[in-house]
Amino acid sequence: MFRISPAPLDPAALLRALTDARAGACVTFEGWVRNRNEGQPVLSLEYEAYIPLAVTEGDKILAEARAKFSLLGAVCVHRIGHLALGDLAVWVGVTAEHRGAAFDACRYVIDEAKARLPIWKKEHYASGATAWINCATRGEHGSPDAPPPA
């Protein structure tokens, strides 16, 4: 089950939905908004998604994880909207009989999600500048979308 959520995520509820008497292992990944990126103080983040394609692609990633690993359940939910420091941006939870498959699958899902989902992140810095991550191009010095200094 993959979802895009404009509302705050509830990890306890997401975890409960994975309850399965056959499962011996549950591995979760939480992506939190952190206060620095590449040395630059971050105040908040905006996430924007191209929802229909993100959902198709997210479901595809979860199906791939089920095909590759011996899983019982797999869930991924991604926040969109304006997030504050410490907010939960993405949650992945995977259950399996054994922990090896659960770890491998959880990592697969978050790695693929970060690489493939049409979701973009705009960082707001203490300096007042902002940047769309990975969208910086050369020759933009001084623009509002300049990358954070290295």
Binding site: Y50, L53, T56, A115, R116, P118, W132, C135, T137, E140
Partner: protein, 80 residues
């Protein structure tokens, strides 16, 4: 000429100044359409860093565009 509906996200939405528009174009592929729009609106991202989706499915940048298609240009994603 065909008419397509274009949706913009993230940096493209901000540089275009709107989230979607309907456009008549002579472009026959997403790559050609992006080049046209980049010239008109001074998009900073070069075409080779953009992926395209047509009718909510990823397509090759050289796929054919048809009248009535909904086109989305996809800037590099957040990547973690």
């Amino acid at each position: 000429m065909i008419t397509v509906r274009i949706q913009y996200f993230a940096i493209l939405r901000e540089q275009r100044g709107l989230a979607e528009e309907t456009l008549a174009t002579a472009a026959t592929t997403p790559a050609a359409l992006y080049d046209e729009l980049r010239t008109s609106h001074a998009f900073t991202l070069p075409g080779d860093r953009i992926r395209a989706a047509v009718n909510d499915t990823f397509v090759a940048s050289t796929a054919p565009l048809r009248d009535g298609d909904r086109v989305v240009f996809i800037p590099p994603v957040a990547g973690g």
